[in-house]
């Protein structure tokens, strides 16, 4: 399978099964509309009014060379979903707080409480979660914990205790913990910033972009937009963070279809690691994205990619979805297994209930079990185990499958009530992002 496209006046060719990427000229681009299905003579006749016969022949020779070395139209590797290590847990979204100090219109967590009571996780449950991760991570060394909410800084004392607890345990069990915190930045101060920068491998900081964009969706319980409260906190943390990872993480919705301006605003504020992503929402919400929005959103991604390249030299920033490592990306097993929700990735609630991921928390039918019982809902676990590229028929013929991994299962469920049936709008946006990301790579 191949995929070819034109973007930013460049012609780009992908060999899907191998992951090969090529820059091609317009002749080759046109030839590949017909070749190799049609033979050389037929293709030459079809295109000789537009190109020199000599050039057509040369291009076909080059295509043949790549086909013969299995670099183009390469064979599909036979793969099953019985992956090595696929069911051993490695990552945990730890909901230390089901309470939040702000209100966001698009919040999938029902304003922080995930359709339940406002709760903070206690120390016993937090430690039990870490023990659960250690004992269910056979074969894995690198373990990831994301302190999540609600707003996790509402339970900051617990976070510090749990980091100490995990650090004590990791040597004993030959594990390497990597911590992330996802925060709305409202409670950031010098003291917790110092702790976060010392102890968190990654920080995800929520802000949607321009003040009007952010404040339309993210506001305090007194209806005050959060932008003016958090922007200096964010700068304070990032300025002190050095080379360690962080992302400013925003959401775009129907209300800011011109989201490239939000990304560029954050870059202009001096932030250099930015992720702004489409909202995950049920289609009937007024802020949900729909098919009719796609042309505008495609245009935005293209505009952003061109700006991204322009700034690369003098004022570079990193946009999460334009990151792609063509040479050292994940292996095919990872790409086929996708996000790993419910198997190598789980979410733990403040009461110790286990869900496939943070997006499903609170929906009882997806509850896998608890820290006391372990994972007992084998039916749900099995459904998520099978939610991979082998089983997703909509993905089989998609050129983007090995870059995307099959998409967000929560997004699929929200749209189609079926985790095996990816959300079409999400798929189209993913493909455009990937085309932009790969185009950027061909220019570096």
């Amino acid at each position: 399978m191949i995929h070819k496209y034109k973007l930013n006046d460049k012609f780009i060719l992908l060999d899907i099964n191998s992951g090969g990427v090529f820059k091609i000229d317009e002749i080759t681009y046109d030839i590949l509309d017909h070749y190799p299905e049609k033979d050389r003579n037929t293709v030459t006749k079809l295109l000789q009014s537009k190109y020199k016969v000599l050039d057509i022949g040369q291009s076909i020779d080059e295509i043949d060379t790549l086909i013969s070395s299995d670099e183009l139209f390469s064979e599909q590797e036979s793969i099953t979903y019985d992956f090595k290590n696929n069911t051993s847990i490695k990552a945990m979204c730890l909901h230390v707080s089901h309470d939040c100090n702000i209100r966001c219109k698009y919040c999938f967590a029902s304003q922080g409480n995930f359709q339940g009571e406002k709760l903070l996780m206690d120390e016993e449950t937090g430690k039990a979660a870490i023990d659960f991760l250690i004992y269910n991570s056979i074969g894995r060394r690198n373990l990831e914990i994301d302190f999540f909410g609600g707003e996790p800084l509402l339970n900051f004392a617990l976070i510090k205790k749990l980091v100490n607890y995990a650090r004590d345990k990791e040597v004993q069990h030959n594990k390497n913990f990597r911590f992330t915190i996802t925060t709305n930045a409202l409670l950031l101060n010098d003291e917790n910033i110092e702790y976060i920068n010392d102890n968190m491998d990654n920080v995800v900081l929520s802000i949607d972009g321009r003040k009007e964009t952010n404040d339309n969706m993210r506001y305090t319980i007194n209806n005050q937009g959060t932008y003016d409260i958090i922007i200096d906190n964010l700068k304070n943390l990032v300025n002190k963070r050095g080379d360690k990872d962080y992302y400013l993480r925003g959401t775009f919705t129907k209300f800011n279809l011109d989201f490239s301006n939000d990304v560029l605003h954050l870059a202009d504020c001096g932030f250099d690691k930015i992720s702004v992503e489409p909202v995950v929402a049920k289609p009937d919400m007024d802020y949900a994205l729909c098919k009719e929005d796609l042309p505008k959103l495609f245009d935005e991604y293209e505009k952003l990619s061109i700006q991204y390249l322009k700034r690369k030299k003098d004022n570079p920033f990193n946009f999460f979805h334009f990151n792609i490592d063509l040479d050292h990306g994940p292996c095919l097993y990872k790409r086929v297994s996708g996000c790993g929700a419910g198997n190598d990735y789980i979410a733990i609630t403040p009461l110790g209930d286990i869900y496939p991921c943070h997006q499903f928390v609170g929906d009882e039918k997806f509850k896998l079990g608890s820290l006391e019982t372990g994972i007992i809902n084998k039916d749900i676990k099995d459904q998520f185990y099978k939610a991979n590229l082998v089983e997703k028929t909509k993905c089989t013929d998609c050129w983007a499958k090995y870059y995307c991994g099959g998409g967000c299962l929560a997004n699929a469920y929200n749209t189609n009530l079926d985790i095996l049936s990816p959300d079409e709008v999400g798929c189209e946006l993913e493909k455009k992002r990937l085309e932009c990301a790969i185009m950027i790579q061909t220019e570096q």
Partner: protein, 45 residues
């Protein structure tokens, strides 16, 4: 080659010593909502 420039040689169909499971879970990186595995790094040293 005159018409085709190779940006990278794909190696996805080489599965030897792959599948160690040590790479980052994609949803833990930054996204938390949409999944892209292609932008993760391989940690199989």
């Amino acid at each position: 080659m005159k018409h085709i420039i190779k940006i990278n040689k794909g190696t996805l169909n080489n599965l030897e010593k792959k599948g160690c499971g040590e790479c980052q879970t994609s949803c833990q990186s930054a996204c938390k909502t949409s999944c892209t595995v292609g932008n993760q790094k391989c940690e199989n040293k």
